[in-house]
Symmetry: C2
Subunit: 317 residues, 2 copies
């Protein structure tokens, strides 16, 4: 299972961090642009070249990369090509891929997304892999029938998902922190909550967490964690600790470290921690700027990964 | 504003329906396949040809088409090309485009999606349109800061969004029907709810509805409807009537008519009604099968649109 492989690599490399490949054009030094053109093709080529150099510089010290598909989709079909090529390149270097797609739709549509990103697409009986990543992120607002096609693909192709539970953005609480009534999710009984608590209100993210735990119950691997994981922003340490209790077998994908402000002390056991611009744009950071010029952006990224690994050394898996 | 243009066209054509361009390969007759190949390229070419013939057959009787991006993304970059070409073709025929993308992410990422789908992408100071559709669907789970970049693009480029409120799928209630406490959304005061109701619980979808109404408050056009619309499944007629009260100035995109089971009587005032397979796969329906062979799939689609228009004649805009 992908989750066991991920945890094995985290332990082997002693590094629970993932490099977010979110190539904002502001992060790209001049040297990755092949031409002076400013069209969708040249931008797509530039981000692919940038990514490949970053991957070359970090593949031996991180377990996985997390491309954010929006940063590629933005350039249309050309960008999606660069996205697919980035994934192929990273896989060839032995990295696991967590595709940050945050898709969520009714079942027949979710089937199409799951086939493309995790499974195989059926064309006249031929089953063809398309993006074929190891993990995707999914949005739970449409409910279980919208998440089920992804979980089915996890089972069939040994993949994993991370369901959005508590996101890292400042406004996440507007919906996710709402207090909801009359929960009947059996998971709460296992997680230290008293039966009497069940008739009181809990937050929406806690409710979603209990569902996520339930959805992943029969997909727990040798690592003790389920193929159904959760996105829990590192920017909400108190909530993350509570969510660790509700979801004891759920691995967390924790965005928000570094540029979004979260620190090592904010993280909870059983998390893989994402940093995007903190790593891929490290050469712009005053801390690395004197040592690495723009052409050495990949070396700066490696230095930033090593520093992050050191910072996360106490994080328990 | 796109919303005023949409409503103008609905009234002019006397047709509040939108054709869902969700080309499942099972819907495609043999005649749209150029070759015997079963790869991503040939599938993408086939869906584009299928779409263009459908568009040719219906462009003069419907105000808009709604491509579901998953059905294209499924075939990778080739599919996204077919998606972009479908949009260009439909626009050239004078149709408005409602892109069913259901994106939702933290602000910096939502910016990228909004730029690509509604606005312009900035490459070295050159601002390039990418998909450039009229409306997109967006997911509210991450809260207002995740929706704001789309609304900003609506304002800047005269576009529109439809925020998921109550989706058409059978399991939508699992999250969306949860009862939430202590609402403080000013909109409820305007919508016939008594002040005392505010301390009681309401459902999550009602809460989201009040937010959607608030987000769209200063983007109400000459039509009386806002650029910020809502997705309200036609499969939930009782809830839709309640949502019409909460969101008096919000236009609804109503999926679920036809194949998903909703009828004309289930629809509420101020809706554009989607049908996908009911129209594009009409030639497979026993009702049209005798009259139209597989090569006449586009004619069957036109017949299905005319029947739907007739069925929706009493729907008030």
């Amino acid at each position: 299972m992908a989750i066991d492989e991920l945890i094995y690599r985290i332990k082997y490399l002693r590094n629970p961090s993932v490099v977010g490949l979110d190539p904002d054009l502001d992060f790209l030094p001049d040297c990755v642009w092949d031409s002076d053109a400013s069209d969708l093709t040249s931008a797509s080529q530039a981000i692919l070249r940038f990514n490949c150099e970053i991957i070359d510089a970090v593949y031996d010290i991180v377990p996985a990369v997390k491309p954010q598909i929006a940063m590629y989709e933005r350039f249309g079909a050309n960008g999606v090509n660069a996205y697919a090529d980035t994934i192929s390149y990273a896989k060839a270097k032995g990295l696991l891929i967590i595709a940050d797609i945050k898709r969520g739709d009714i079942a027949s549509t979710a089937d199409a997304y799951a086939d493309a990103h995790l499974g195989r697409v059926n064309i006249k009986g031929m089953r063809t892999p398309v993006f074929d990543v190891d993990f995707v992120t999914v949005n739970p607002y449409l409910g279980e029938d919208a998440v089920a096609p992804f979980i089915k693909s996890c089972r069939k192709y040994n993949k994993g998902v991370f369901v959005l539970v508590k996101t890292s953005n400042p406004g996440s609480g507007q919906i996710q922190d709402l207090q909801v009534l009359n929960q009947k999710v059996s998971d709460f009984k296992d997680s230290g909550s008293k039966e009497s608590d069940l008739t009181k209100s809990i937050s929406l993210y806690e409710h979603v967490a209990a569902l996520v735990s339930e959805w992943g119950r029969d997909l727990i691997g040798e690592s003790g964690y389920s193929a159904v994981g959760a996105v829990v922003g590192a920017t909400h340490p108190k909530q993350a600790r509570r969510l660790r209790e509700i979801m004891p077998h759920t691995f967390f994908l924790a965005p928000g470290y570094g540029a979004q402000g979260a620190k090592a002390a904010d993280l909870v056991k059983g998390s893989i921690v994402n940093s995007s611009r903190g790593i891929i744009a490290a050469y712009k950071n005053p801390k690395y700027k004197d040592k690495f010029g723009p052409e050495q952006f990949a070396k700066a990224a490696r230095a930033a990964v090593l520093e992050m690994r050191e910072d996360l050394r106490c994080l328990e898996i």
